[in-house]
């Protein structure tokens, strides 16, 4: 082979080619400045262009700029794009190279938890372990408390979930939120008296806590106390008049009591906000049908069917057979 002139020339040309690539690579890189890359990556991260942000963060890490912020922002960018395994890889790399931070452990916990949801796994121990480490480093890390509580709620360990929410209350981080979360756990256990107590505590800390008012209404609906439920739903509307669900919920309550005219009034208010809401259109149609106003009934049922409501399709079919 070595006597073959062509072969020797080919090898020399290949070596020259590789040397050209190396020189070109170094020439290009000598023009790249770290400051420009930091500026670009931050800009893309702030504008939520995570694909571009990742490009520049990866380059920064390759250039040896390995700071907390760059690693965590890279991990957050991967998480936002749904690449949880890659995010985990960067966070574990960060753990090896830098001093661990509370945010890093929270993101690790979140990445492992997200992977569990995607791959339908059931070992909660790894995310729990990281979230607890996060709180060891910073007892005021709100997101860690919330995620820990959420994990224990999914395991149906409501006592443990409440323990973490109460720990957050001791640190006085967003009391209304954590009172609301404790109330939710009681609600899931059907302990409505305790749930009501904590929802009221949440509301006393934040008069505009929509979720608390809404869930109080749900409690009263379960207890068949519709007047009280409507009262709380009206408070939700006072806080956010553009939120469609309280209108449709009140409509449903009147519908259940066969008060179709009042139900329609509330459904129409909901449809002013979201005219193509399929379920609301369906119930509006049914309410008109109950009042024998068939033209309006068909109009709303058609809209519901067009927006994907199968019950509306069946109802229209039945109506066309009977008419």
């Amino acid at each position: 082979m070595l006597e073959d002139k062509n072969f020797i020339i080919s090898i020399i040309m290949t070596i020259l080619f590789i040397v050209t690539l190396i020189f070109y690579y170094h020439y290009k890189n000598s023009h790249y400045t770290i400051d420009v890359f930091i500026h670009k990556s931050s800009h893309y991260f702030k504008t939520e262009n995570y694909m571009q942000a990742i490009r520049y963060y990866k380059k920064l890490i390759m250039m040896g700029v390995k700071t907390d912020k760059i690693y965590t922002n890279t991990a957050i960018s991967f998480i936002r794009m749904g690449y949880y395994k890659t995010a985990t890889k960067y966070l574990l790399d960060m753990e090896k190279n830098l001093l661990p931070t509370s945010e890093m452990y929270y993101l690790l916990g979140f990445s492992y938890y997200s992977q569990m949801k995607v791959y339908k796994l059931s070992d909660y121990n790894i995310p729990i372990q990281y979230l607890e480490k996060s709180l060891d480093l910073d007892k005021r890390n709100k997101e860690s408390y919330i995620l820990l509580g959420k994990i224990y709620e999914e395991k149906n360990e409501f006592i443990e979930a409440r323990k973490w929410y109460k720990n957050a209350l001791l640190e006085k981080i967003d009391n209304s939120k954590f009172y609301g979360l404790i109330a939710n756990t009681y609600f899931k256990e059907n302990r409505f008296k305790d749930a009501t107590e904590y929802y009221n505590k949440a509301i006393s800390n934040n008069k505009n806590y929509i979720s608390a008012y809404y869930n109080m209404a749900e409690i009263y609906i379960v207890q068949q106390n519709f007047d009280k439920a409507i009262e709380y739903l009206k408070k939700v509307i006072e806080i956010d008049p553009q939120y469609i669900y309280p209108y449709s919920k009140i409509g449903n309550l009147y519908f259940a009591q066969e008060n179709y005219e009042t139900a329609i009034d509330w459904y129409l208010q909901a449809l002013k906000i979201e005219p193509k809401e399929a379920i609301v259109n369906y119930y509006t149609g049914i309410s008109y049908k109950k009042l024998n106003m068939l033209k309006k009934a068909v109009k709303h049922l058609k809209l519901a069917a067009y927006c994907g409501n199968d019950d509306a399709v069946k109802e229209l079919r039945t109506m066309s057979e009977t008419l």
Binding site: M1, F7, F17, Y25, K28, Y32, I54, K58, K59, F78
Partner: protein, 102 residues
């Protein structure tokens, strides 16, 4: 390049493709089946070979015409192979330039 030993040439091209894939992976987030390294490598390798083959096929008629004009002995398969190796290197360099551009 005019390698007589095609196995060596194609092995080298595979190594170049692997390096290019690493650089491309640094630039963009590869999605779907491209996330698998070996599948991406085969795809990139095939793309380089395909582009080089197409360019060689485009060049070949000109060579045949030129040979006829100057009454030169025409060895189509050898000329195809030479141009194929040259275009493979040019394609590799072109992809390399894009994959390190920020």
């Amino acid at each position: 390049m005019f390698y007589n030993n095609k196995i060596i040439f194609f092995s080298l091209l595979l190594i170049f493709s692997a390096v290019l894939l690493y650089l491309i992976n640094q630039q963009i987030v590869l999605v779907g089946i491209l996330r698998n390294f070996f599948i991406s490598l085969i795809i990139l390798y095939s793309v380089i070979i395909l582009i080089s083959a197409i360019l060689s096929n485009i060049f070949l008629p000109f060579y045949i015409l030129f040979s006829k004009l100057i009454k030169l002995k025409c060895n189509k398969s050898l000329m195809f192979w030479w141009t194929f190796t040259i275009f493979s290197y040019i394609t590799t360099f072109a992809i390399f330039m894009f994959s390190i551009e920020y």
